[in-house]
Symmetry: C3
Subunit: 670 residues, 3 copies
Amino acid sequence: MLKLPGFLHGADYNPDQWLDYPEVLRQDIELMKKAHVNCVSLGIFSWARLEPSEGRYDFAWMRGIIDDLYANGVYTILATPSGAKPNWMSYRYEEIRRVGPDGRRELPGRRHNHCYTSPVYREKTAKINRKLAQEFGEHPGVILWHLSNEYGGECFCPLCVDAFRAWLREKYETLDALNHAWWSHFWSHTYTLWEQIMPPMAHGETAVHGLNLDWKRFVTRQTVGFMKSEIAALRGAGSALPVTTNLMEFHDGLNYFKFAGHLDIVSWDSYPLWHNDDEDELAVPVHTAMMHDLVRSLKNKPFLLMESTPSMTNWQPVSRLKRPGMHMLSSMQALAHGSDSVQYFQWRKSRGSSEKLHGAVVDHNGRGDTRVFADVAGLGKRLEGLSEIAGASIKSEVAILFDWENRWAIADAQGPRNMGTHYLETVQSHYRPFWEMGINADIIDMERDLSGYKLVVAPMLYLYRAGIAGKLRAFVESGGTLVGTYWSGVADESDLCFLGDRPGEGMTQVFGLRAEEIDALHDTQSNSMGYQGQTYRLTELCELVHAEGAEVLAVYDGDFYAGRPALTRNRFGQGAAYYIAARPEAAFLRALYAELADGLALRPDIAAELPYGVTVSKRAGGADRVFWFIQNFTHSPASVSLCKPLTNAETKESVTEVSLPAYGTVLLRG
Amino acid sequence: MLKLPGFLHGADYNPDQWLDYPEVLRQDIELMKKAHVNCVSLGIFSWARLEPSEGRYDFAWMRGIIDDLYANGVYTILATPSGAKPNWMSYRYEEIRRVGPDGRRELPGRRHNHCYTSPVYREKTAKINRKLAQEFGEHPGVILWHLSNEYGGECFCPLCVDAFRAWLREKYETLDALNHAWWSHFWSHTYTLWEQIMPPMAHGETAVHGLNLDWKRFVTRQTVGFMKSEIAALRGAGSALPVTTNLMEFHDGLNYFKFAGHLDIVSWDSYPLWHNDDEDELAVPVHTAMMHDLVRSLKNKPFLLMESTPSMTNWQPVSRLKRPGMHMLSSMQALAHGSDSVQYFQWRKSRGSSEKLHGAVVDHNGRGDTRVFADVAGLGKRLEGLSEIAGASIKSEVAILFDWENRWAIADAQGPRNMGTHYLETVQSHYRPFWEMGINADIIDMERDLSGYKLVVAPMLYLYRAGIAGKLRAFVESGGTLVGTYWSGVADESDLCFLGDRPGEGMTQVFGLRAEEIDALHDTQSNSMGYQGQTYRLTELCELVHAEGAEVLAVYDGDFYAGRPALTRNRFGQGAAYYIAARPEAAFLRALYAELADGLALRPDIAAELPYGVTVSKRAGGADRVFWFIQNFTHSPASVSLCKPLTNAETKESVTEVSLPAYGTVLLRG
Amino acid sequence: MLKLPGFLHGADYNPDQWLDYPEVLRQDIELMKKAHVNCVSLGIFSWARLEPSEGRYDFAWMRGIIDDLYANGVYTILATPSGAKPNWMSYRYEEIRRVGPDGRRELPGRRHNHCYTSPVYREKTAKINRKLAQEFGEHPGVILWHLSNEYGGECFCPLCVDAFRAWLREKYETLDALNHAWWSHFWSHTYTLWEQIMPPMAHGETAVHGLNLDWKRFVTRQTVGFMKSEIAALRGAGSALPVTTNLMEFHDGLNYFKFAGHLDIVSWDSYPLWHNDDEDELAVPVHTAMMHDLVRSLKNKPFLLMESTPSMTNWQPVSRLKRPGMHMLSSMQALAHGSDSVQYFQWRKSRGSSEKLHGAVVDHNGRGDTRVFADVAGLGKRLEGLSEIAGASIKSEVAILFDWENRWAIADAQGPRNMGTHYLETVQSHYRPFWEMGINADIIDMERDLSGYKLVVAPMLYLYRAGIAGKLRAFVESGGTLVGTYWSGVADESDLCFLGDRPGEGMTQVFGLRAEEIDALHDTQSNSMGYQGQTYRLTELCELVHAEGAEVLAVYDGDFYAGRPALTRNRFGQGAAYYIAARPEAAFLRALYAELADGLALRPDIAAELPYGVTVSKRAGGADRVFWFIQNFTHSPASVSLCKPLTNAETKESVTEVSLPAYGTVLLRG
């Protein structure tokens, strides 16, 4: 899809802050070549340079930069500049500034904080986007549109409030329907005029879950709407270049699944907290791998790593340097999970202001002989040798459900455990065994098709929407294996509890059980269950279920519900549905999924067993382009015995045993 | 006083949220019968259903419900609906919405948040109350008015500010008097116009203790005023039914003693954190018992338990299920301390919105065969067999002073220990030994009469008001025993420090000592004293006193004040006054009060000794209706040897030894 | 300079709150005599008494007080009353009330919260100051002006915003210059109109470090400007009395070095947290000693201890009583470091309001026989015997750089360790070894002259300004010894990073090294280095430097940078520059500075070695007035062997061995 074959390697490039330093700009080109950079992201925060005052444009400097880069073999990903409003615009047009949940409008300043509804801002953005498309849309060096930057946040201004009401009107048609969906007759919250509806603001109504959920849906819708208007402007000006926008890690505020359909390519900004003080050194790589898989699953095709740091960030509580090897490892991890790029924020450290101490390829000293620069250049060189892999895809037999609306509803619920039910962490705990076994997994939401998977894992599916119950039923009926857990099937898409037994919408039949109560535990409390000779700790939430057809595989050991089912399996149609009634420790999930992996033949076909901290990911671009990434995330060497001889994709040697140094990556080819 | 003899058993019933679900309403009646429910609280949040738009009323649905219930043997406690404003009203009349301490008016939404001063809201409330009285005041099924719901909170709107100034003018008459009382000449805070006075708002004057204290007094006064206007409307419409309002646990914002005189019956909502992670399993039952005793003491007669949960709450950090037996135990505890009811919030779980996950008698599944339902029905049946006890009273020989104004003043003080002086916890620590010995105690404030008690316990009586020094002096003089502590008699009712020796107002004579300094300790620091062969830990505050006539019973062991008095006793008139100069550990209070209980013959006359976790409470409705509740709050069985044979009130057997299962309650009859 | 010879001993005296209590005022005079008080600070919060309504003045009561005091031998330090606005003024003139960072104007109330820009407030203050000068400027009992009280805080009102913009315009002249200094082209923050500039408010621009730093500079400038206008009014009315203002402990908000030039005498309010729960009992005395030294260094001459508490404060989390001996010790410590006074807040405890529980010389009981009163009187008597010391100065050979602008810039930085880089604590850790060795040290900022020092210690000199690099270079070149550390020479005075190697401005040559990266550590992580047979722990920040000429004295033991320099020394010109690349534990600094003290002959000439917790300070008023304060800050006795016989300044005995009781102070004379 991109003009540029092979992997992209480059950085956010912000020469607009160095226009008074021509020697710096000259040096940049030389250093980029030395670093094997083939691409930069340009213009992300350039609006004030492109339109220094209202209606007066200056594209000359940018053209000079793009030309120079292109002449030196560096392609440009060109940003639309809406991520940062020029001060003159914020000053002149109050409406483009956000109003916070406290009802106060922001003063000019910061970034990523424009009102998504404002007609003025949409128009100004459309205009600059059109200009950019006209100026650079056909430039041979420009390969991709980078829409804005890290969309996010909410606005409670009168324009947004009006748009919210209009959307609700469209959705519910009548106030009766809305009042029922929001269950607003309770507490006399009945709305009798659309004008009475306000978003959940700090000094207003925050206790109506249906309202809260609809507001979050609206925020995603409005943000996507803004993004669509940006795309429309580019297309309207004749640009046919693909578009992307850079997403953020498990960002709570926006449902990224709603963005994917409008983008040609998905990309994201990855800033893992490597080398932090977590005793579990694998927590960060697993967390990051899952986000890579989520991003890949958004369009089920390769994505771009749009930002990462070659060194340290400046926003973490403690800015640790990347240890030797970590830059290579973390970059190769992105590729292993489907990225076709490694890019950085930013090329050169700013001289002043907020991001001046954020890691960059080039430091304030302007040197090309630093440790960080050498790491970057070494990776760039290696990527050049791996260009055949770019574009290869990943096929998963396992799907893990992670649904933003479910996430919002669980977090907003009052009870059963306000100090934390840990939805995201729980989904991650189910993901980890697959990472440990080197089994590729997709991360999907309830709107996705389940066919084609052998195993679907659906933890804490509190809110059923998008026909998920029907899809799960059909999936199991036709032979699929489903793993569900406690706190599932509680509410419908309006967050109204199902009347009748739980899990709702007939899922009692699929699981062969019904849930009656759920007990919440303090952090110091636990229960346990025995399964296949081992005892496993259970914490946080213990559901009390009645097996009605399901086979009881494990029971609670303690408390007044000792002896009642803690783990069940129900044969249903051609398939089977497991139900885990409480939150288990990691070891249990490791054991259960190992059993399922063996039963369903999910393990990678190259190695029967992986040592601690080593994982495998497979990318294939057809039968002749099959690659395995074998990565060691520990700081000790490790080795993997292969089931069959394979070729080292870089040395071309045939191997049956793979030796990995600490933080090492080996690429095999089938 | 109520039409209905025996104990009330029932729940908040909110059919207004189910009017579109007729099958649910039909099922409710059947399930109520099965649960031995004889009474419900109706209409608490119904305003939007009763007056769907301004001036348009609809009582038909409510009449249908009340009729149906009555026809099926279920009585109605009818609420005035002021606890939740209809959205149309909040939208139309800005003045009824509160202004917060930050000066911002709330948006429409939530509940319990109307301005107590607003003439509009008072008028609207009066009108609906009159209508309700006219419609249902004479209905044979209606037995009691439930005024609003959980009154609370503050409002800083211009109407309230004006009312505050008017009240101050009435109280002080001149600004000179106010300036002296508030000591406002210091820091140039002198007020020269009444209009200069503002409540203690976040961005204003918060450092003037006299102002803060008067504001809290005003908030109670204004809330009581609102409640009185509600009652007046009901009475004005001809209803002679008794009135109550449901109070909350040790609610800091309102002085409940000021409410009692205006209510016919006192009631409260009890939500103890049963089964929490406190290592001390008796902390919750003792805390709850004291609140029951406080509520009973408000009018010194039986009260109603208006709300409790049969299962879990949804607002605690961790929503624990009630363990088997706990529902019976906690309900019987209320009776033991003077309740004539056990009622729940709510009958049936809401389908949506904020309280949908709060425990209820009937779950979303609509089943009558759940564990929770069985617990409720079992209790209902047992209550029917105990109806003779209803109305029986409790007579205490011990009074413990707990005074809201003192609580406010101590908490607002700057120094001597801003990280916590723990007034409420300290009073509770003095209450606990009596609970452990099975000795009934009243919880009273400084305005109450002390005659009739043998022992008065007055911890941390920092602020003297309502002639308390004179009353205490007279009480001791005429033979009473008083226990006082450090940090007493510091300030007068304006929170002006007494000039001269401390404790003020002549209490140095009663205690036979004067206090010179008070030392505050960090949490890691402590002192100790020896008393009767034991050493006891002293923490938080250690007062340095000079014995001037008092007998020194114990001295400090450590620090530069080692050897100075830590515990004294002064014979004064016919009585004695003890003074505890520092905060002692629980074991000391247990020892001291055991000694006093023996000396003053306070122990229950049925058992010399009670095992750990077992307590006794006595209710009597005349010489022929004497009952003892013996309750075991541990999760192990226990037994109690009686001094004399008594009759088990339920089995009618004569017993000399009472065997209690875990969480068990046995009722004896004299 | 003051009319009164010898040491001042007295207190803030607030009779304005007792004008209705004539017997209290009479008693005060008697008690002052008993307490050996020779001076009070008067009128600090008296505005409402001096000008009860606009333009109506009343000085009669104050004249009576001053006359009475003077007649009884007590002198008056007279305050200008601007610290607390009268309520009538706040009510009538909105503009004098501050606007917070949230954009909201305060309501009337509290204190120290007037707008420093307001023309109205400046005019009202000037007027009352002139009146005071006219009334009392020539009074023989008045010796010093006490300007306002504890200046501090910020105001964001439109008047201040305008003044800020005007100041920026004066400073930068063009927006181009400002945009470059603030690096505002990044993130499109370019300012195109001066009117677009707003201070860093909570709902506005907070991410531009240059703006933040200039705002803090402006706040200091504006506060100093207000103070100057106060002085001008006094001088304009003909008063030639010296002026002071009372500073606060390491106050973050104001750069006190900018105040010194405008004051005749520097004074401060010292409230150490004596007897807290810190395991290190010397932390508080060292911290306090350093602040005394900082205050003395502001004008490099004796200062006044304007406030302290004879007992406890009322604002600490835990108000501990001063243990026996501590009042003497802490008071003598002030003298040891250059104070010519010991004064208290306040003379008598207020009867009501916010400070009623703050320790005072006279308690509510009005007694002169309390422990606290005895401590005060004992000190007063001792001071009378030491009057010869008053006015003697302190000469330091060691300077420690502590620069407010550097402090602000480090704290505001994003990265490298947002959870804390601990600038102040780090400077204190470098100060402590000198305290332990009894070596006097000056605390200076970057604007000061370095000549005359043998040793300059400059920890974490992140921001270079005021030509500091040139001064340090010249200092070393001409034979001085410099100790620098990691995180130095990063940015210029605009907080723009130096381009080229770090430390910038040529300091790489002085230190003989360049820094490439800096690694931040979590609190649980550490590295270490060996130096002269000992291993020392390194935490928080570890810089990776390249020695380029410097001698490597120690290297990192661990992590990927093991073996790289951790401590270096570079001979440069006639001097030497040490560089400590990571944050070391206290023991290392003790060892290093002991070595330097010996090499540079810095130790006190009276004792070779001091026991733990004992320190020495030397004051000299010429060759014949040389005094050593020897103080023991532990709660055990200690003794010090002298190098030569000296005279005990109080007993007049010749001693060669000094025995110090716990908390004891001995004064020697040379």
